[in-house]
Amino acid sequence: MLVNNFLLLGAVLFCIGVYGVIVRKNAVLVLMSIELILNSVNINLLAFDQMHGNNDGGVFALYIIAVAAAEVGVGLAMVLLIFRNRKTISLDDLSEMKG
């Protein structure tokens, strides 16, 4: 098995996730795309873990899973809050950050 199998898979997933973040307008879908990106990073970490034979990558993969869970929790809470206030979660309509 080549390391590159996994690394390239990670790269492809990452880019699909980036595409999703840019293209999607629905906030929930954007969050899903971010999950794709995080997963691709995990695959990379575990591939390197296996390559070096230590467990460092595994540790960080676990940490990333935990952070991702926190991120989804807060993210969806924000989406709900926005939906309650604005009746929409289309990112186009959310332009309060306009400078």
Partner: protein, 773 residues
């Protein structure tokens, strides 16, 4: 095995206070939590906890100082002949013998007492927490604990009745704990911890009266400006970690030892030093990040006093002093033939710029703020010209007289001028009414100006003298000019505050007959009025731009009188020390105690300080006298009663007027940051991105060729957008209506931000790949 023996040898020699120095920051830190949780239930709202904890810290710090001095004495005796000023002393008996130190390597006279235990570890890197005690740390500990205690005592009266009384004491206690943590830090991690605690607390304290918008803004400004510099601290620490593989500051393999012995190309070390110096610039209000410091006056006066004397702002100077080998080697300080270096240049510029600004301030606290900036410039310049001991000594003396000046200003506002800090509108003629405040102010001013035999003279003159002795001629002149300016603006401030005719709300009382005030009934009434006043109106201090209609609602015109004992006692103590503290290192009398106690902290070999001669001090003394005379003459002419052709000169003479305006606008630095940097950099980028979005992307669509109708739409859009763009480019700021449509790339469109982010990352990666292949 040897190491353990060494350690035990030192272990025996260090006394209880030195061993337990970690208690000094810990006690106020615990007190912070006690105040937060139980403060409101205490009879005095938590201030007694704050005072008690700080007093305890002070006692331990004093004990530690005593034992340290003892240790220095013991080490000197061990050296058979007591070569205190030599730079090649032997260390303690236990150290150095077995190791055979190479010639030219720095030899410490006296090992610092380093204690600690593991705090956390990441991978192989272990980071400890504990205490690193040497002369520098001892001096700062004592200073911080002492000043904090006095300021807390002062605050019990000054902020009495404030609605966030308890929180005030909690923040100020934690603030001191942060500074003490930083001063004790044996490694950079703890240093950063203390540094950040201070940053947070300064934000809380400056914004203490946050209901007023200017105060909240000042707090934010202080926080963000300092934060800009803080990036440098992290980057610099990271670089030091990468270079030396440790975060420890002192010790055998610490950063200082390794940096001092550094050989070869020190480009990286120079970069690390510059990064760290940026942090020092931010924290110590050096040019060009000094703009937050005067705004920080929005906080209550005790806070300003604490911030500007012994804590916050000297943290940057302390950073440079603490890691001096890094700066000295990295920036080539005191290398022969090197007449400039970054630290000295920044320090020198700061001295002059801040002194210039102090002339046009009407707010007494702002005069003092700029004066602080200017004095910090002296400290930095001192470090930059290799005058380590004088610079650190200047921290010491400056803390006393500057703290005293601020507390005097607070005292004047508290009982003299109805909570206004405006010298032109609400002060004047207070000399006779507030004798204690007046005399402590005069003494501290004399110390600040460097009048001979006051403390400032001994430290400041030593810095100027060293600049001369170390062949930094430019900075010698800068120092002299600074001395002249300092005297001049302080004379102006003194004249406006205490002399001449009274103005504002207090005028009625001051200008009347004196004995009128000593009727007992009146005194009582005044006390009552003052109390009510304190209870109701304290949240109105300190906002400088809003003093015009001061109606505190209470029987307002109360008679100016000296403040209660909680205020005057600190003033008297500090005023006394403003004179006496200088005699710890008075070169004219060959007293070099400070040098003796401190110089083992330097870590590198510096040129011998020049021998003091009155002839060398003459120029600065003369300039101080000249500054006093000129300024007094001008102040009398401009602000006095007698008609004078000089009055309103800035209005009549266009050149002077322009200069005045330039100074009033603070050299337009704030405008530069706001308009040029924020708008100039952020907006064009967003505009360019928008243009790309509208023109290029649409252009692609256009080129791909959709249906005719769609093309039409896009052309319309293109023209429309182009037109609007043209309007903006043409009429710039005026097109406010178009403005909304025009900053769209701060459009708030998250997707676009994402695309820009990832696109930029991809392009950056591509560039790296192309460059490296």
């Amino acid at each position: 095995m040897f190491a353990s023996e060494t350690e035990s040898a030192i272990h025996e020699s260090a006394g209880w206070f030195l061993e337990h120095a970690w208690l000094i920051p810990l006690i106020p830190a615990i007190a912070f939590f006690l105040i937060i949780f139980f403060g409101k239930r205490c009879p005095k709202g938590g201030s007694e906890i704050a005072l008690a904890s700080m007093g305890a810290s002070l006692v331990i710090a004093a004990g530690a100082a005593y034992q340290w001095i003892d240790r220095v004495g013991a080490s000197a005796e061990g050296e058979a002949g007591g070569l205190l000023r030599g730079f090649f002393g032997a260390g303690r008996v236990a150290e150095g013998e077995g190791e055979g130190e190479a010639a030219g390597e720095v030899v410490h006279h006296l090992e610092p007492v380093i204690r600690g235990q593991r705090w956390f570890s990441i991978g192989d890197l272990e980071v400890g927490i504990g205490s690193h005690i040497d002369g520098l740390a001892i001096m700062m500990l004592l200073l911080v604990a002492f000043i904090s205690t006095l300021v807390l005592l002062y605050s019990t009266e000054y902020v009495r009745g404030d609605r966030r009384y308890t929180h005030f004491f909690a923040s100020i206690t934690l603030f001191s704990a942060g500074m003490l943590t930083m001063v004790l830090a044996p490694n950079m991690a703890q240093f950063i911890l203390g540094w950040e605690i201070m940053g947070l607390c300064s934000f809380l304290l400056i914004g203490h009266w946050w209901e007023e918008l200017p105060n909240a803004k000042a707090a934010l400004k202080a926080f963000f400006t300092v934060r800009t510099g803080d990036m440098g601290l992290l980057v610099g620490t990271g670089m030091l970690l990468a270079m030396f593989g440790t975060l420890d500051i002192g010790g055998e393999h610490g950063i200082n030892t390794q940096a001092a012995a550094f050989v070869g190309d020190h480009k990286t070390l120079a970069l690390a030093a510059i990064a760290l110096f940026i942090a020092a610039i931010g924290k110590s209000g050096q040019f060009p990040l000094h703009t937050w410091l005067p705004d920080a006056m929005a906080g209550p006066t005790p806070v300003s006093s604490l911030l500007h004397s012994s804590t916050m702002v000297v943290a940057g100077v302390f950073l440079v002093a603490r890691l001096y080998p890094v700066f000295q080697v990295g920036l080539d300080i005191t290398v022969a033939g090197n007449h400039f270096n970054l630290i000295a240049v920044i320090g020198g510029i700061t001295i002059l710029i801040a002194a210039g600004l102090a002339f046009v301030q009407n707010d007494i606290k702002k005069v003092l703020a700029y004066s602080t900036v200017s004095q910090l410039g002296y400290m930095m310049m001192g470090l930059g010209v290799g005058a380590w001991v004088p610079a650190v000594f200047h921290i010491f003396t400056h803390a006393f007289f500057k703290c005293c000046l601020f507390l005097c200003a607070g005292s004047v506002a508290h009982t003299g001028s109805h909570h206004s800090f405006d010298m032109k509108k609400d002060m004047g003629g207070l000399r006779k009414k507030m004798p204690i405040t007046f005399w402590t102010w005069i003494v501290s001013t004399a110390a600040l100006c460097g009048v001979p035999f006051f403390s400032g003279f001994f430290s400041k003159d030593e810095i100027i003298d060293s600049a001369h002795g170390n062949h930094y001629t430019v900075f010698f002149i800068v120092g002299l000019v600074g001395a002249f300016l300092t005297t001049a603006y302080m004379t102006r401030a003194t004249y406006l505050t205490f002399f001449g005719k009274a103005r504002g709300g207090a005028a009625h009382f001051v200008n009347e007959h004196e004995d009128h005030l000593h009727e007992p009934a009146h005194d009582e009434g005044h006390a009552e009025a003052a109390d009510d006043h304190g209870a109701q109106a304290h949240d109105d201090h300190g906002h400088d731009d809003h003093h015009a209609p001061i109606t505190h609602g209470k029987p307002l015109p109360f008679a100016p009188d000296d403040s209660p004992w909680q205020i005057t006692v600190p003033l008297i103590i500090l005023g006394t020390l403003a004179v006496l503290s200088g005699y710890l290192n008075a070169a004219p009398f060959h007293i070099e105690k400070m040098h003796e106690w401190l110089h083992s902290s330097i870590g590198v070999t510096l040129p011998e300080a020049p021998v003091f001669e009155w002839v060398n001090a003459l120029p600065s003394i003369l300039l101080v006298a000249a500054g006093f005379a000129v300024s007094l003459y001008l102040s009398k002419a401009v602000f006095g009663d007698a008609p004078s052709p000089l009055k309103g000169l800035t209005r009549r003479n266009s050149l002077l007027g322009a200069g005045h305006k330039f100074l009033v606008n603070k050299y337009y630095l704030d405008a530069l940051y706001e308009n040029v940097i924020v708008r100039g950099i952020a907006y064009p980028i967003s505009r360019a991105a928008y243009w790309t979005n509208q023109n290029i992307l649409d252009g692609i669509v256009n080129g791909v060729g959709k249906s005719g109708k769609r093309t039409g739409e896009l052309v319309y859009k293109y023209i429309d957008q182009g037109l609007v763009d043209g309007v903006v480019n043409g009429s710039g700021a005026t097109a406010t209506g178009a403005g909304g449509a025009l900053q769209p790339v701060q459009s708030g469109k998250v997707n676009l931000y994402g695309a820009l982010l990832f696109g930029a990352a991809a392009v950056g990666a591509l560039v790296l790949v192309l460059v490296n292949s």
